[in-house]
Amino acid sequence: MCSNKGDGTLKKVFLITIFGLLLGGCSLKEDAAELYLQEQPLHAEVVLPERITSEEPVPIKVILTQYGKKVEEVDSVEFEMWKHDDTNHATVEQPSELEEGTYGINKTFERDGLYYIKIHASKGNAIIMPKVQIVVGELSKSELEYLQKDLPEKEEGHDHHH
């Protein structure tokens, strides 16, 4: 609480209260959110090989956690995959549970290029759909351009690059 009550030497207490309030004010507690409804969001970590090449099976794994703990049993988990220039031919695969909270597939990409994997996972009301961008083999020129299309002004970008 921020307010004080004063009596006796009224003016002094009064002044101190007012200036205290004016200067210090109140600040929000960092953990204030814990006093209200809290969600239990699922969290996904995706494990990929350093380098992915086409025409050979690639292990793709997702580790699902909820508040830092591995999720014991999910309601559903699916991998939706497509090549960046071919959104119409998305494939959906059901990964198998490798260990607790860890699900994976072995995927063979037929061609080089830029791919996306969208992981649909749910447990109760917690539903997530993280999207991962992956590079198989070499990127074509158009794919590179696509990656850069949303770049803001070049100079500005370099300044902010880290």
Binding site: T17, I128, V135
Partner: protein, 455 residues
């Protein structure tokens, strides 16, 4: 004017009458200073009450669309806006609450905030509106901060707080001193001459609207810049207010902090390692719209796009009825709902404040609500003007015509009330200190001022 009572042994009646004059004096000065602001607040408030109807008329061409087939995905509408405004930074998207409402894309370009209205069925732009030009926003700015920013906000807040002082002193003065006679207290005396009529025109309506006025002040204060922010912070910290980020406090940050895909910078070649380009990329606005539908977010919501890599999508809807409010934060990489704060999740004070705000704005109960608030506003204007007129009529030429001041010792109870209000509303307290200092340092030392202000 009345004679000075300054005897050491006071009878009960004398003490009462000096208290009466002291209260009157405060009511008098507070009234003269606050009345112009009350009139401004009441006039701008009366107009702003009808914002929904007014905007519906003046922006009809931008708001209304003809439904035909399915709506085009949000991402494509935003792409179109990007094509039309290549240098713009898109900040928000509003899908429109019903089938005949256009969708809106908010952006900033060349330091200007624009709203682009889109026909979601054709995917074409209907028109744009510079947020600076929105007349109702101007009215709101006038109402909330007299169009002069933070200083204006404090002035309005001060005027609102002093209105409480006016109401307390006014009610004291209104209380019938002799045997109760309901005319002149509750009813007007229309044919007792002009000065009686002028007095009744101030006192009687003032009594009738006091409750409404107090309600408008108390429901308006929580969104004031100084008192409101302090109040909201205390309420939120106690667990009884709005959850953080609805009013005070920041949105949560994304839970995904590593493995975020980087954008290669150089054209032609991939100048960063492949592993840097691989990783999470933000979910699309279409996913966010889908999540909003899935979670049953009120259709009048606006999506605020993440501003930085750690940011979140914020869905926010403050529709006419407080019960429909929602503030939801969605992780920009996983689409996880990080917080879902609705009216039911507010603490008790938060719910009261939220309901107070929709009542204050006249949206909670629709037209009835608007008309009731309008009546209070008109009453405030009448009372302010009639009070002012009362003063002009009685004012002697060479002084303010205020009742003579009495020693502070004669008004202990009143002083306690003032100090209480000063603690509850620090700006009132601060202004009391300023008045006190001015009195001691200036008015008491300058004979002309002393005479003029009848000290």
């Amino acid at each position: 004017m009345e004679t000075v009572i300054n005897t050491t042994t006071k009878s009960d009646a004398q003490q009462k009458s000096s208290l009466y004059r002291a209260v009157w004096r405060w009511h008098f000065y507070a009234g003269i200073i606050v009345a112009p602001f009350l009139i401004i607040l009441a006039v701008t408030g009366s107009i702003y009450l009808f914002k929904p109807q007014i905007e519906q008329v003046i922006y009809q061409d931008l708001f209304e669309v003809t439904p035909q087939g399915d709506k085009i995905p949000a991402s494509q509408q935003i792409e179109e806006v990007k094509r039309l405004y290549p240098d713009a930074v898109i900040s928000k998207y509003r899908p429109g609450e019903n089938a005949t409402r256009s969708s809106e894309v908010g952006l900033t370009v060349n330091d200007q905030s624009l709203t682009v209205f889109m026909d979601p069925y054709t995917g074409k732009s209907i028109g744009e509106l510079n947020n600076e030009d929105r007349i109702m926003d101007k009215i709101e700015e006038f109402h909330g901060e007299l169009m002069i920013g933070i200083i204006g906000d404090r002035i309005v807040e001060l005027a609102a707080c002093w209105t409480i002082v006016l109401m307390v002193t006014g009610l004291y003065l209104w209380l019938p001193r002799k045997k109760p006679n309901m005319s002149s207290v509750l009813y007007m005396r229309w044919n007792k001459g002009r000065s009686i009529l002028a007095r009744d025109l101030h006192v009687v309506p003032a009594f009738w609207i006091t409750a409404g006025m107090l309600f408008l002040v108390m429901t308006g204060l929580p969104w004031s810049g100084f008192w409101g922010t302090q109040f909201q912070t205390i309420a939120t910290n106690s667990g009884a207010g709005y959850p953080p980020s609805v009013w005070v406090g920041n949105a949560p940050v994304s839970t995904v902090t590593k493995d975020i895909a980087e954008v290669p910078w150089a054209a032609e070649t991939l100048d960063v390692p492949v592993s840097e380009v691989q990783g999470f990329i933000p979910v699309s606005i279409d996913d966010v719209v889908q999540i909003a539908n899935r979670e049953g977010v009120h259709p009048s919501y606006t999506v605020f796009l993440p501003k930085e890599a750690t940011g979140v999508y914020t869905l926010s809807a403050f529709p006419p009825k407080a019960e429909d409010e929602i503030t939801m934060h969605i992780d920009q990489y996983s689409g996880a709902v990080l917080t879902d704060y609705r009216f039911d999740h507010y603490g008790f004070i938060g719910q009261v404040v939220a309901l107070g705000i929709t009542l204050h704005k006249g949206t909670q109960f629709g037209l009835i609500n608007q008309l009731a608030s309008l009546l209070i506003c008109l009453g405030i204007i009448l009372v302010a003007i009639s009070g002012f007129y009362l003063w002009l009529k009685r004012k002697p030429r060479k002084s303010m015509g205020a009742p003579k001041s009495t020693s502070i010792k004669n008004m202990k109870l009143f002083l306690v009330v003032l100090i209480g209000l000063g603690i509850l509303f620090p700006l009132v307290g601060l202004s009391l200190i300023v008045i006190f200092l001015m009195d001691v340092l200036l008015i008491k030392r300058i004979p002309f001022l002393k005479r003029f202000l009848h000290v």
